[in-house]
Every structure is written in structure tokens, then in C-alpha cells.
């Protein structure tokens, strides 16, 4: 009864202090947001490169190149906008990643085998996207050059046909077609089958496939930052135990019909509840940001066991320190170090091999790995059983140990 009253009071204190409570959530959310913005945002694979095409040639070949940006796969990646001279002004204003300039006579020169140039103007304020365009155009230019070498005669013939005022004769077209066909026949053994093929696979869960969603950077960073967030929430909730001791509130509380066990039971319950509720907030924010966390039972179990582990860890640390200031310093160090080692900031797979065994010794690791299994690898409850056991058992042991140490301190008169 008293334990529940203490739980109710602690939750009320968060409710009465919305700004303080919001700030507790703000830090991990801002960090996750910054990561998401820096590494791609949360809009799936809809990164689009805007390219301005200044086509002064307006010929068949230039229209063919222009059309290359309209294929069903590339239309998600590139937005090709036909422009005139004003394209240069648009580039000055930074309105596109790059401008491609096809000069007058480009097609004719190409067909005649004369040197010609494709101009690329890059946006200096962007780092990666203009390079993509630049490299793409370079590859295209090499392809065109090679084609010009191989099909020199046929291209020259095409140029002649194009310059004639009348519609090409059937015989001339057939002759051209046969020439191209022979060349391709000769090349076939060099071109097909390709020795190396590229197979691109997007990591998506079933749900995302169904929704047509794609890569979401937040799915990689939010779980880690949520864990950091709940560790800081647990720190804030356990700090109250020290504050109660230092301010005389605990002494006053123990003058009421409240035993030390009641008090510690209430505080453990309250730290766990605050941490779990905090996790739930991150969970809902993640859903709002388009993250598919995985099967509900699995994610809720992992959330609760992670909250228990966080509460247990923080209660134990706070039981060992002598003052609120000591507690704040020590817990902040432990939270940051275990978050870094446990993969909350960066995936454990990216860490040096000597750190990996140390990483597995942190509770953060078991939590982040569990979320990765659910979100990234599309696993279910059965795949995270070990994570759940480790987090729950460790959480309970740490919490019990912390509560016993605190009880001893309180009964010895250290209140």
C-alpha cells in the first residue's frame, strides 16, 4: 500500500514537471534526430538527386540521354529537369545538385566521330550528390566513346542518313541494321554472359515490404538512443533516493507507518515504472517516425526487460555512493561508457574485435542486440529469448542487491 503511494507520488512529480520530464526525453531524441538527418533522414529510399539538363543540341541522342533519367528505377533517384540558360542561375541559387550541358552539335559531332564535350556543373554546397552525377556522366561518356570506337562506320552511316533531306531508303536502313547486328554478334562472346553481376538487396522486414517502405535510418539509431534515454531516466528516478536521504524527506517518511522495505519497494517499483513508461514513449515516437519495431509481444517483452535492467543497474550504483553529486558523476560515466561499448551509439559489428567481448558484458549490448534482431533482422520472440533472460535476471539481481545495500545503510542510521 505504502509502496503504491510512493509510486503514485513519483509519477505525479513527473506529471507536475512537464518541462523537466520533456528535457529528459529531449536529449536522446535530438541525438537520434541529428543522426537521422546526417545519415539520410527517415524517408525510406526516397533520396532524390535533382539534375538540370540544358540541352542545346535537342537531337535524337540528347533526347535519348534525357530519357535515361526517366526509367522506372532511376525516377526514384533522379529528378531530371529540362532547362535553358536560366539553369546556370538556378545552380547559382543552389536549386539542384548538378547541371548537365549538352552543347549545340553534340549528336552530329558524336556521329561523325569528332571530339565533343558534355559539361557538368556541380553544386558546391552539396558534398555527395553532385559527385554521383559527375561519376554517372563520366561512365556515360566512356560508354559513348567506346560505342563510337566499335560502331564507327555505322555511326558515320547514321550521320549521313540523318543529314539527307528525304526519309531514309529501306535498303540503307537494312544495311545499317545488318552492320550493327554483325558487330553485336562479334561482340557477344565478349559481353555475355557477364563474369561479374551485381545483385542489390534491400534489408527490409516483411512489414516494410507490405507497406512498400524502405531503409529508415531511424530504425538503426533510435533503439540505441532510446536505451541511452531510459538509462538517464532511471538515473533521474534513482537520484531521488539520494535526495530523499540528504533532504530529510526519507527520515520524515519513516516516521509514518512506512517500513524501510515499503519505501525501497516503492522506489524500485517507481524507477522501473518510470523507465518502462519512458521506453513506451520512445516506442510510440519510433512508430510515428515509421519504424517497424517487430512483433508486439517480442518488443514489449524486450522493452520491459531492458527497463528492469536499467532500473536495477542504476539502483545498485546509487546504493554504493555517498551523495547525490557522487551518484550523478558515477552514473553518467557508467551510462555513457556502457552505451558506447554496448552498441547504443554505433553497431557492435563496427567495433574493433578486442572490444566485442567487453561489449557483450554490458546490459546495453543485450538490449541493442535484441532490438537489432527484431528491427533489422526481422526476428521474433524466439530469437531474443536469451536477451530477455539476461536482461531480466541481471536486472532483478542488481535491483535486489542495490535495495539490500540501501536497506542496510538506512537501518544503520545513515538517513
Amino acid at each position: 500500500m505504502a509502496a503504491l503511494a510512493i509510486l503514485r507520488r513519483d509519477l505525479l512529480r513527473y506529471w507536475r514537471n512537464p518541462i523537466r520530464t520533456a528535457l529528459l526525453f529531449a536529449v536522446p531524441l535530438v541525438m537520434a534526430g541529428v543522426f537521422a538527418l546526417a545519415f539520410g533522414g527517415g524517408e525510406g529510399d526516397q533520396i532524390s538527386i535533382k539534375i538540370l539538363l540544358f540541352d542545346e543540341d535537342d537531337s535524337l541522342l540528347s533526347r535519348f540521354l534525357e530519357g535515361a533519367g526517366d526509367s522506372s528505377r532511376s525516377d526514384q533517384k533522379f529528378e531530371v529537369v529540362a532547362v535553358g540558360e536560366e539553369g546556370y542561375e538556378m545552380m547559382e541559387r543552389g536549386e539542384a545538385s548538378a547541371l548537365i550541358h549538352l552543347p549545340v552539335g553534340f549528336t552530329a559531332d558524336y556521329l561523325d566521330g569528332e571530339p565533343t564535350t558534355i559539361g557538368v556543373v556541380k553544386n558546391p554546397s552539396e558534398r555527395f550528390l553532385p559527385k554521383v552525377v559527375d561519376e554517372g556522366v563520366r561512365i556515360g561518356a566512356v560508354g559513348l566513346s567506346e560505342a563510337s570506337q566499335v560502331f564507327r562506320a555505322e555511326l558515320a552511316q547514321m550521320g549521313e542518313l540523318g543529314r539527307e533531306k528525304r526519309f531514309p531508303a529501306d535498303l540503307a536502313v537494312a544495311d545499317l541494321s545488318a552492320g550493327v547486328n554483325h558487330k553485336l554478334g562479334d561482340l557477344e562472346r565478349f559481353l555475355f554472359p557477364p563474369v561479374v553481376t551485381l545483385e542489390s538487396v534491400s534489408l527490409r522486414t516483411e512489414g516494410e515490404e507490405a507497406k512498400g517502405g524502405g531503409f529508415n535510418i531511424l530504425a538503426y539509431v533510435l533503439p540505441g538512443f532510446s536505451i541511452i534515454g531510459i538509462l538517464f531516466l532511471a538515473q533521474s528516478a534513482t537520484r531521488d533516493i539520494l535526495r530523499d536521504r540528504e533532504s530529510g524527506l526519507l527520515r520524515h517518511l519513516l516516521t509514518a507507518p512506512v517500513s524501510v522495505n515499503d519505501y525501497l519497494g516503492g522506489k524500485c517499483l517507481s524507477v522501473f515504472a518510470v523507465t518502462a513508461l519512458g521506453f513506451a514513449v520512445f516506442l510510440f515516437l519510433g512508430i510515428a517516425a515509421g519504424i517497424h519495431w517487430g512483433p508486439a509481444t517480442a518488443v514489449i517483452s524486450l522493452m520491459l526487460s531492458s527497463a528492469l535492467a536499467a532500473a536495477g543497474l542504476l539502483i545498485l550504483i546509487m546504493s554504493l555512493v555517498g551523495s547525490e553529486r557522487q551518484g550523478d558523476t558515477l552514473t553518467t560515466i557508467i551510462i555513457l561508457v556502457s552505451s558506447m561499448l554496448g552498441g547504443a551509439f554505433m553497431p557492435v559489428s563496427q567495433m574493433p574485435s578486442f572490444l566485442k567481448p567487453i561489449s557483450a558484458a554490458t546490459l546495453v549490448y543485450w538490449s541493442t542486440e535484441g532490438f537489432s534482431t527484431l528491427i533489422i533482422r526481422g526476428g521474433g520472440l524466439a530469437d531474443i529469448v536469451l536477451n530477455l533472460v539476461v536482461l531480466t535476471v541481471a536486472g532483478l539481481i542488481l535491483m535486489l542487491l542495490g535495495a539490500l545495500i540501501l536497506k542496510r545503510k538506512i537501518e544503520r542510521g545513515a538517513v
Binding site: 507520488r9 507536475r16 514537471n17 530529510g248 524527506l249 517518511l253
Partner: protein, 309 residues
């Protein structure tokens, strides 16, 4: 109602409370008067079951607090020396929480909260967060929390420290009202005037020991039913102090380089005969004040020092 018998508590080599015993009857206001560090708070912490004594016994009603803590604590109201309230909650939130610890709920809790807030003059600030309160208002809320569940025994540990005279007056009034309603009150203070005004019986405590217990009249009789002369001057010369000691019908309670406190014996020659002896020029007296016998003189006569020392 309260029976304290042979309480002892040490912290390392420091003996904080040394064989303290006293009894408080039902409805009585009992004062524990002593300077800071005398052992008042340690005594009250042991009485309310927060600090385990090294020895001795505390019985409230007919129950030992250390044997039946929850039952006894249900009848106790404690107002600690520290302002023990949650500053980020409202006054009403604090009282609701406190009341729920004593099993109060629903309409009863609400009416008790309203009643208590009105009693200490905080009903118009019930919904404000405590961090916006003045020190005096926080003290009144602290008192409110101790009274909410209508305790049979109220323990107050220096409840008026650091507050303005109006808030102090309000608190003392509430304590009188509560006692008039039959609640037994144990009140610790180092303010002599508070103990004099408020308490039916007073125990004087110093260095962890009870020096004496009695009503105000009984205690002042200890000082010899005599007036007290407080003289200031230059008493650095031991010869002058010896002359003070040799005065007829006078007992020197305290004498240092600047101040001497003399008790004029009731059965002696009297104040009018003593004054001319004190005011002789070669004694170097600058100023004389005459005091009626009070707890200050009792304390001086028992300890050789003033209460504020």
C-alpha cells in the same frame, strides 16, 4: 502517554544521548529545551522510531515503538526540523500523499486536507507548488502534514526555526489548539521564550543529559526564586571576579571578561542591598540589567552558561 526510559545513543565516541528518561501525560505539552547539539533531535528520532537507540525504551500509549512500529506510528504525528516536503508538488499533492500513507482516501482524505490547510491558513495556496512558498508557509505545511491524520501524539522538532514572527505565532497557536483537543505534544526548542509560553512541563537537556524536569514554576524555584543581575564591564582582572564572588547575598552564575550573571538569593539582604555593592566605581561596571527568574537563569544556574552559548 509517552514514556521514555534510559535512552542512550552514541555515534562513535560521541555520546549524543545519555540515559534520558521522562514521562509525558495525555494532553500535555512537554518541552525539551536545550542549545543546539544538546541531543534533542537524536532523542526525538529515537522516540519516533527512525533511529534505533543503543539502550533504553520508548513506550507510546502502552506499546513499545521498536516492537510494534507500524501500530505506534499510526498514532504519531511528526514535524521534523527540516522542511520535509516535495517542493515540485503542490501543497494538496503533498498532503494527499501523506494522508494515503496513513490509510486515508477518498472523501475523508479530501476533507482532512481541506481542514488542515484552513487550520494553518494555506487553503488559498493549496494548488500552488511548494517551491513558490515562503519559508514560513513551508513550515506551516510541514506542520499540516503532521496533523493530517489526527495523531494522539504530536512530536515537533524545533518547528519555528528560521521563520518570521507571524508564522511562528500561527504555529504556536495551532500547537495550543491541538493540545487543547487532547493530543499529547512533545516540543523541542532552543528558544527559551517558546518553552515558557507554550509548555506545561519542561525538560532541560544539555550534552545528551536531562538536567532537570518540571513546570516553569518548579524550574524557576531551582534558581532560588531570586532576581538575576546581568552586569557588563571589564572583569578581566581575577581580583575583580573574586570581589564579585565575595558579595553578600549573591551567587555568581557566570563570569567572563565582559559579562557576569549574578543571582540574588531570596533569603539574603535583597536587591536594594546588593546594587550599591555592585555599582562601586572601582568594580568597573558599565551596565546593569535586572531579570525576573526565568528559564535562562535556570539554565545558567544548571550549566554555568547561557542557552544561546
Amino acid at each position: 502517554m509517552i514514556s521514555v526510559d534510559g535512552l542512550r545513543k552514541s555515534f562513535g565516541s560521541l555520546v549524543a544521548v545519555d540515559d534520558v528518561s521522562f514521562e509525558v501525560s495525555e494532553g500535555q505539552i512537554f518541552g525539551l529545551l536545550g542549545p543546539n547539539g544538546a541531543g534533542k533531535t537524536t532523542t526525538i528520532n529515537m522516540i519516533c522510531g527512525v533511529l534505533k537507540p543503543d539502550g533504553g525504551r520508548v513506550v507510546i500509549g502502552d506499546k513499545d515503538i521498536w516492537l510494534e512500529p507500524k501500530t505506534v506510528k499510526q498514532t504519531l504525528g511528526v514535524v521534523p526540523q527540516e522542511i520535509a516536503v516535495y517542493e515540485d508538488l503542490t501543497a494538496r499533492d503533498n498532503l494527499n500523499f501523506w494522508g494515503s500513507l496513513y490509510g486515508l482516501s477518498g472523501g475523508e482524505l479530501k476533507s482532512r486536507v481541506d481542514q488542515s490547510l484552513t487550520r494553518v491558513g494555506l487553503s488559498d495556496r493549496a494548488g500552488d507548488r511548494v517551491k513558490e512558498f515562503s519559508g514560513g508557509m513551508k513550515r506551516r505545511l510541514n506542520l499540516c502534514m503532521g496533523l493530517l491524520h489526527h495523531p494522539r501524539v504530536l512530536l515537533l522538532d524545533e518547528p519555528t526555526v528560521g521563520i518570521d514572527p507571524q508564522a511562528r505565532f500561527n504555529i504556536l497557536e495551532v500547537v495550543r489548539e491541538v493540545a487543547a483537543g487532547g493530543t499529547t505534544v512533545l516540543y523541542t526548542t532552543h528558544y527559551m521564550d517558546e518553552a515558557q509560553e507554550l509548555c506545561d512541563r519542561i525538560a532541560i537537556i544539555d550534552h545528551g543529559k536531562i538536567l532537570t524536569v518540571g513546570t516553569l514554576n518548579e524550574l524557576t524555584r531551582l534558581a532560588g526564586e531570586a532576581e538575576v543581575l546581568r552586569i557588563t564591564g571589564d572583569f578581566e582582572d581575577p581580583a575583580i571576579r573574586e570581589r564579585l564572588n565575595a558579595l553578600d547575598g549573591v551567587r555568581v552564575l557566570k563570569a567572563d571578561d565582559r559579562i557576569a550573571v549574578l543571582s540574588v538569593d531570596a533569603g539574603g539582604p535583597g536587591l536594594l542591598a546588593v546594587l550599591p555593592q555592585v555599582l562601586v566605581p572601582d568594580l568597573g561596571v558599565d551596565d546593569v540589567s535586572i531579570q525576573q527568574p526565568n528559564l535562562q537563569s535556570v539554565f545558567i544556574s544548571l550549566t554555568g552558561k547561557e542557552l544561546r552559548d
